[in-house]
Amino acid sequence: MIDVDKLGASFWKKVMMKGLGLFLAVNFIFGFFNPIRTLGSISAYNLLFPGRTRLPFGERPEQAYNLSLYSLEAMFASHEITGKKPANEYRIILIGDSSVWGYLLKPEETLAASINSANLQTGKNRVMRAYNLGYPTMSLAKDLLILSYAMRYEPDLIIWSVTLESFPTQKQLESPIVQNNPSPVRDLIDQYSLMIDPADPRFTRGNFLDATLIGQRRALADMFRLQLYGVMWAASGIDQFYPQVYDPPQEDLDPDETFQGFHPPVLNPADLSFDVLDAGHTMAGIIPVIFVNEPIYISHGENSELRYNFFYPRWAYDQYRQIFTHRCQEYHWHCLDEWNLVPGAEFTNSAIHLTPYGTGLFASSIEKAILQLIQP
């Protein structure tokens, strides 16, 4: 037996120095090469287990078999869109908020799934296949960020579902996924001259330490967990936690006429991020885009003469629709305004979340618009 005391300080010093050196070297190399994006694109989805039908998002991973992460590479790598595009496929991508993602809806009940269930075909016998690229936060910049990644997957048509809540300029950086992807978002700001401050403090500020193995441990763990949850996704087809009970949309409303800090009577178009929609349209190039003003819940309770619902005072929403329609006409965009399409009973837990039947109604109107667009 070797006594610790007899080894002397130099032995321990060497051990400590070598350990420290190795630790620093590994972290430095990781930080220098910053392989997190490459690592994110390595995925067992579409290989060992089927790709997810919607982007990963989950606040209760143990029950949802799904989790929220910030690596768009990992998110897309887990999505079914990453699979090879069949030659006869007419690829439709749907972007938007939680109503497109399908909050409280099963994968087979979402807007994309409803469109797919119609088995639409183009005039040239290409099978229309819709892909759900919605993501549950309300920000057009977030949608644009997702669209910028989705363009790699050769879409033939883009359907962008929007609602007023996603428009205010100050809300564009509210989405955590936007805040945690500063570099690609700044690229978009720069490329499309978006009215978003690239130095906004809400962007995460990464330094070299954040790029090291230690700094990226959380991101790496999330990517690994996403792969593990793939097993449960494949085994159960579940990707969301469904509560037994939830509160329906608010019927009685506060007599508050403000909207996101804006006061009546005029909603200034400059306060809304139509420039982001324009950027998306430019990004799409020759690929057609349909902008859809999504259905909202219309309350009939107390103060419903002032507000449509929890989100929107009437004056703001009415003016938003006018601005939206005007912008569509002015820029020759393909637009669809389905704000009052769905009856109140077909909303679930918020003014924009639809039941399977409500989603089906919404999908039918979009299907008609698609057919009109490609088979005029």
């Binding site: 037996m1 070797i2 006594d3 610790v4 005391d5 080894l7 143990e62 029950q63 690994f224 967990r225 593990l228 949850y229 097993v231 449960m232 494949a234 085994a235 159960s236 087809g237 579940i238």
Partner: protein, 475 residues
């Protein structure tokens, strides 16, 4: 135990191992172990119960020591000092209630100091009474063993623990309607009970030497092994305690490696596998037999890495402290038959039951005038032993079936071995055939054990049966 408490534990063990002399090591271990049973005790909704359960644990150990202490061995000053140290530590933990910066070592604020003092005095008075009575016959020991078993049953039977919870809630003026079996979770009591019963039984059979209270207490609540074992024998444990234990480089390296291995097993492998391992909820959600097998395999591996990871950590911490805790796992899933599996899975638990239940029972059955045939004796012995091992995990039908599953499996293997031996099967076979038999046996054993986990992980026989059917795509 999460990573932070584990880190603190490793630091503490290293400090005790490096800087304390033999004499002071025992005192350090005593104080550290007492602190740990309070610190690691899970928080409970019943007021102050997370303080009273560790306190009850200490009192049980003291009474057990008094009952097992040989009449001819006098008590020493060290025993009295140990009693004082226990009281002081309890008072110290109780006083954290009044110190904001320290509050609280226990998950919820401890009771008031006067109440803690009353508890200490009560424990001391009962101990004094036991000392004065000096019970010489074994009835007291049997009675005390029975008391431990009763507590054990209360903790393991949900209906009983719920009843106790309701009683405690009503005493505390807390809502009785919120009572649940989970209200009474006693850190490490299963292992404490095994150690106490071992010493009580060895006292009856005259195998237990007279030990100072300090060493007896360290053995029972030794902090590295309090949460998940292993279950050491006191005679062997005390030998290590007497060894000069200045931490050597070899011990430090061995300990460090085992701790790192344990951390990797528990916090990387087991916790990752937990995501996909079979459980109550996902057994109902899975839609194909193939994925269900994947989830079942994941559970089999998860439970191994979880449990053996904790054991590695405990053994590693023991190494740092100069105590060589016994091994609990020895590549169990690579064993070619169920008997060897149970010689390598939770070894110390199986040994405990072999020594204190199976052997005495089979001896008793053999000596009966009825003269039962050997296969019947083996069947009764193995089935009842494994029923008890099953029920040790919890008093439910599923744990009983899991125990029976293994009892029957062991009996079948025993008969098969006898038959193979008597017919000389495979003895003269070429090495390739022997290898094939070993590989087949390993695969069969692994799958038998893995299928047995279905009973273990699910809560009702109905759901387990449905899962079995789903595994084989029946129905």
């Amino acid at each position: 135990m999460s990573l932070l408490p584990l880190f603190i534990t490793v630091i503490l063990a290293s400090v005790i191992g490096l800087f304390t002399q033999v004499r002071w090591r025992s005192w350090s271990l005593l104080v550290a172990s007492i602190f740990f049973i309070y610190w690691l005790q899970p928080g409970l909704p019943i007021r102050h119960l997370d303080f009273w359960l560790p306190t009850a644990c200490l009192s049980l150990v003291i009474y057990s020591w008094l009952l097992t202490h040989p009449k001819e061995s006098p008590f020493t000053r060290s025993d009295l000092v140990t009693g004082l140290v226990i009281s002081l530590v309890m008072l110290l933990i109780g006083s954290t209630r009044y110190i904001d910066a320290l509050c609280c070592l226990t998950p919820t604020p401890p009771p008031t100091l006067p109440l803690v003092t009353v508890a200490i005095i009560s424990i001391a008075l009962i101990a004094l009474l036991l000392y004065l009575i000096k019970p010489g016959n074994n009835y007291w020991i049997y009675g005390f063993s029975f008391l431990i078993l009763i507590i054990f049953i209360i903790l393991k039977a949900e209906a009983a623990s719920k009843l106790v919870s309701m009683t405690l809630r009503s005493i505390n003026n807390q809502s009785v309607s919120l009572a649940s079996g989970l209200d009474i979770r006693w850190l490490g009591f299963s292992y404490i009970a095994f150690r106490l019963l071992h010493t009580l039984r060895d006292r009856i059979s005259g195998k237990l030497p007279g030990l100072p209270l300090q060493e007896y207490l360290i053995y029972v609540i030794f902090f590295p092994a309090i949460t998940a074992g292993p279950i050491d024998r006191i005679q062997r444990f005390v030998e290590d305690l007497h060894q000069p234990a200045k931490l050597s480089l070899e011990m430090a390296i061995q300990g460090g490696r085992r701790i790192l291995l344990g951390i990797f097993f528990k916090f990387v492998l087991a916790d990752s596998l937990a995501i996909i391992a079979l459980n109550e909820a996902n057994s109902l959600q899975v839609n194909s037999a193939g994925w269900l097998w994947v989830m079942l395999y994941a559970f089999a591996l998860r439970i191994f890495f979880d449990f053996s990871g904790y054991t590695d950590i405990a053994i590693g911490l023991g190494n740092l402290l100069g105590i060589r805790l016994p091994e609990n796992f020895d590549k169990p899933y690579f064993k070619p038959n169920l008997t060897l599996f149970w010689n390598s899975w939770h070894i110390t638990l199986a040994s405990w039951f072999r020594a204190y239940f199976f052997n005495p029972l089979t001896r008793a059955l053999r000596s009966r005038p009825a003269n039962l045939p050997l296969p019947s004796i083996i069947f009764i012995g193995q089935l009842s032993t494994f029923l008890l091992i099953g029920l040790w995990h919890g008093i439910t039908w599923n744990f009983a079936i899991w125990g029976a599953w293994h009892g029957v499996g062991l009996f079948v293997h025993n008969r098969w071995s006898d038959l193979a031996r008597s017919k000389g099967l495979f003895f003269e076979s070429p090495p390739l055939v022997k290898k094939f038999v070993t590989i087949t046996g390993t695969l069969l054993t692994f799958h038998y054990v893995t299928l047995g986990w279905v009973w273990f992980v699910l809560s009702t026989p109905e759901q387990s049966w449905r899962t079995f059917l789903k595994l084989f795509s029946i129905g």
